[in-house]
């Protein structure tokens, strides 16, 4: 894996040297100004403003145009963008941000704390997915002066949690273009975003392309390098690979290519294919069990299913080098929370699986079948489709017949999370740097019916509920980490969801690109230092 090693070298270089010119120590290249960077845009979204929608499909465009208070640096630590510094009161209920002076919006108006106040109260708290949960107890944002924003919470907000959530959930929008302009969701600015970022929005042709150009008044000196960014809408993955090879696309983010094309391009010296720069976008493949089925409510059956799948075989033959065995709801890339002990791991053991099923009282019937289950695979991702077939194939061997139910995205969410019309489901759990952002809701009881990606398994566990609640308001960093260790072990013991595979999104990028993949959420970041070699 030459490419990965190269990417790894580049990272160590990035960490070792200054933030602005990490390439200096590597190839002594001088950054080149100019050039058009083309990006594969696979899934068009309904709007482009990241203050309103937290998803990679928005960040890949909106994240270059708008900026957030805080981003993650090369080591994955919070670094100020629109905020210069921050401070939490000892009781955890007040968090004060000092904002960067001299920043202007693309339309020339100055950026102030009023923008932060408006965005936090009207967008993050009311509209932004996950933002509404994160900011549930936010009562007010005070603006004592144009460069100070004071967040006031009803309950203690761990500073650590807020700083890890803000890189995704902390994009600021211009108050003057939204306030008093009617419904925020319907504001045309959402499709022609205005921000403070290194690139200015130019044009969006639905189904074809989005164009942004360099912001000459950007607050960082000498940035950005690129003249333009063009996002090309290509929905067919194979077609995107063809266009990369034809030089029409420089970068395909977030596993946008098929597994086989990624492997192939990885061997081509013109491209770099690696997981580097996506550590902040880790995901695990999941198997969700519906406890309404009496068979699945029996822990022996859930464990038997886990033991029946040869995960290392699946990873080696179907996913290649870019996936690894998952250990629990917190992925190993999350160094701040990954526990030393993850609890039981359920290695492949067909005999044990059969024994557990026998013990549970589900003896093989006619044709060796013990019982049948309906499996709903989420319709995103080639790996989910392959994994669902693999589950079907493997469970047949231990006498569980699987019927795969194929749906589209809307149908999947409705049937799993609202109608509960599934026995097994398999999809992705996206980890967002802190378990409190989008992980614990998969396990905490009392989730409203119909809320996607939450505990809808009819499984209630007071023990895990207490751990989750305690951790959410624990201000002490070490104690929080310990609590999440308990959470992971409990989750793996009770197994309401199994997380057997850990994956990081894959980046496929032209070898001409420089300063790429140098932060854990690089695809979503602002690309102010990205440049293209001749």
């Amino acid at each position: 894996m030459d490419m990965t090693r190269r990417a790894a070298l580049m990272t160590s270089a990035a960490i070792a040297s200054s933030v602005l010119f990490p390439m200096r120590s590597f190839g002594q290249e001088t950054p080149r100004k100019g050039g058009v960077f083309t990006v594969h845009y696979g899934a068009e979204q309904r709007q482009l403003n990241p203050s309103l929608q937290a998803s990679t499909g928005v960040y890949i465009i909106g994240g270059k145009i708008q900026e957030q208070l805080v981003d993650l640096d090369a080591k994955g630590q919070p670094v100020g963008v629109l905020a210069e510094s921050w401070e939490a009161a000892p009781d955890g209920k007040t968090i004060t941000f000092k904002l960067r002076p001299g920043v202007t919006w693309h339309d020339g108006k100055p950026f102030t704390s009023a923008d932060v106040q408006f965005t936090a109260m009207e967008m993050w708290k009311k509209i932004l997915n996950y933002g509404t949960t994160l900011q549930l107890f936010l009562t007010a944002v005070d603006t004592p002066d144009p460069l100070t924003a004071v967040f006031r919470y009803e309950r203690p907000m761990p500073l650590n949690l807020l700083l890890r959530a803000l890189p995704d959930l902390g994009y600021v929008s211009p108050r003057h273009l939204y306030e008093g302009k009617g419904d925020i969701r319907q504001n045309p600015v959402n499709l022609a975003p205005v921000g403070t970022g290194p690139f200015k929005f130019v044009q969006y042709e639905r189904g074809q392309h989005v164009i942004a150009e360099r912001n000459p008044n950007y607050w960082r000196a000498n940035a950005p390098y690129l003249d333009r960014i063009v996002w090309r809408v290509v929905t067919d993955r194979a077609a995107a690979a063809a266009q990369m090879e034809a030089g029409q696309i420089h970068y395909s983010p977030f596993s946008g290519l098929t597994i086989s094309d990624s492997a192939r391009l990885g061997k081509d010296p013109r491209f770099i294919v690696s997981t580097k720069g996506n550590e902040g976008n880790a995901r695990t493949n999941t198997i969700e069990f519906n406890f309404r089925r009496k068979e699945l409510a029996d822990i022996r059956v859930r464990r038997a299913i886990a033991h029946a799948l040869d995960i290392p075989f699946f990873i080696e033959n179907f996913l290649g080098d870019f996936a690894k065995r998952g250990t629990g709801p917190v992925p190993s890339v999350s160094t701040d929370f990954y526990p030393a002990d993850n609890g039981p791991q359920y290695p492949f053991d067909k005999k044990l699986a059969a024994k557990l099923l026998d013990e549970a009282g589900f003896k093989p019937g006619a044709g060796g079948t013990r019982f049948s289950l309906r499996l709903l695979p989420a319709p995103w991702g080639e790996d989910i489709s392959l994994f669902s077939t693999f589950i079907q194939q493997s469970l047949a061997d231990v006498g569980i017949k699987i019927e795969i139910v194929r749906t589209d995205g809307g149908g999947y969410l409705k049937q799993v999370y609202d109608d509960h019309a599934f026995d097994l489901a398999t999809g992705w759990h996206q980890y967002r740097n802190d378990p409190a952002v989008s992980t614990t809701v998969w396990y905490r009881s009392g989730q409203p019916k119909g809320a996607p990606w939450t505990n809808q398994w009819d499984w209630t566990d007071p023990t895990i509920d207490k751990i989750i609640d305690d951790a959410a308001t624990e201000v002490d960093v070490a104690k929080r980490k310990a609590l999440y260790g308990d959470f992971v072990r409990r989750a793996n013991t009770e197994l309401p969801i199994w997380t057997p595979i850990e994956q990081i999104f894959l980046t496929a990028i032209s070898a001409k690109a420089r300063n790429h993949s140098n932060t854990p959420r690089w695809g979503s970041s602002s690309w102010h230092d990205l440049w293209l070699a001749e």
Binding site: R46, S55, V233, D236, G409, G410, L413, S438, G450
Partner: protein, 325 residues
């Protein structure tokens, strides 16, 4: 003037059909699992219950089905196709943006199918049961029996991947902003494979019909007479045979307009063309009811218009039929 009145009458006569279709599809989609908010959450990759509830209110999905249907029809009366949930724009605008690619693709495929179907049909009929006929008829059969999308995929493998003659997809090259003639050429180049993919199936049909009616007409009395009078073969073909043989072909265009629009869903998806077909597919998946109904409305209008033009052509080709009937 007469044509306009006729067109008006035709349209008026089609209104019940149109309304039947729209209400039918509207009610059908109410039975679908999940609504546009579920689809949107799926696309965002995350969200919470409060967000979902707000969005449902925003899209008017908290109203009863009949209230929604009533609203829709009332808007339609005022020629308002509504607002697209996916695109955040009026449906009319969204469709207007996507219509050119589809119309271009359909026109190109139809012209290709018609022109080559005609020529090959004539060639085959002239040399009936000899090797050109066998070759052409066999090819026609193969094109007829081939899944269109599969031909598209294989054409991409051969022409875009191995030979690298033609682009693998897209409507035009947007990294370089061409203008004028160069842009036209660029778009034409992008449309070669899609046109072939969509057109070959229809070419196979036209070829068969052309060949059949040529054979039929060549045996008719007036053609024999013309021949015996010593008119040269080509003139006989052009003046008498072609005119009569064209009738069934023209009829077929009218009948197949709907099918062809359906076929463009698959072809546009293979070649990632920003057309109406792909929009339709996306709006089904995204449960974007307004957009889907808008597309159905527009494509029904398109089919009705094509049929109207076909009738006019028919009248021109066959003087025995009057357009009044």
């Amino acid at each position: 003037m007469r044509v306009l009145t006729l067109a008006g009458r035709r349209l008026a006569a089609s209104i019940p059909t149109l309304i039947l279709i729209l209400i039918g599809v509207f009610l059908l989609l109410q039975l679908a699992p999940g609504d546009t908010v579920d689809a949107m959450m799926a696309q965002m990759g995350g969200g919470d219950a409060a967000t979902a509830k707000q969005l449902r209110e925003f899209y008017g999905l908290d109203l009863s089905v009949w209230a929604q249907l009533g609203n829709y029809l009332w808007r339609l009366v005022r020629l308002d196709l509504g607002f697209s949930a996916i695109y955040g724009k009026p449906v009319a605008t969204v469709i207007a943006e996507r219509l050119p690619a589809t119309i271009l693709l359909m026109t190109a495929s139809l012209s290709f199918a018609f022109f080559f179907g005609l020529i090959l049909g004539v060639v085959a009929a002239r040399g009936v049961n000899k090797w050109p006929d066998t070759l052409i008829s066999t090819l026609g059969l193969l094109f007829y029996a081939m899944p269109t999308f599969w031909f598209g995929l294989m054409a991409i493998v051969v022409f875009s991947i191995y030979l690298q003659w033609l682009p693998a997809g897209g409507f035009e090259d947007i990294t370089v902003s061409y203008t004028g003639l160069r842009r036209t050429l660029d778009i034409a180049l992008h449309l070669v494979l899609p046109t072939l993919t969509l057109g070959l199936f229809y070419m196979a049909i036209y070829l068969r019909i052309m060949r059949g009616s040529m054979l039929e007409v060549l045996n008719l009395d007036f053609v024999r007479t013309a021949r015996s009078k010593g008119m040269d073969e080509t003139r006989v073909v052009v003046r008498h045979v072609l005119r009569n043989a064209l009738l069934p072909m023209v009829t077929l265009i009218g009948l197949q307009a709907g099918t062809m629009l359906g076929g463009s869903v698959v072809v546009e998806s293979v070649f990632s063309l920003p057309g109406l077909g792909r929009l339709a597919y996306e709006s089904v998946i995204q449960r974007d009811l307004n957009t889907l109904l808008g597309i159905i409305f527009v494509s029904a209008l398109l089919v009705i218009t094509i049929n109207f033009i076909v009738d006019l052509l028919y009248a021109r080709l066959d003087p025995r039929i009057t357009t009044g009937s």
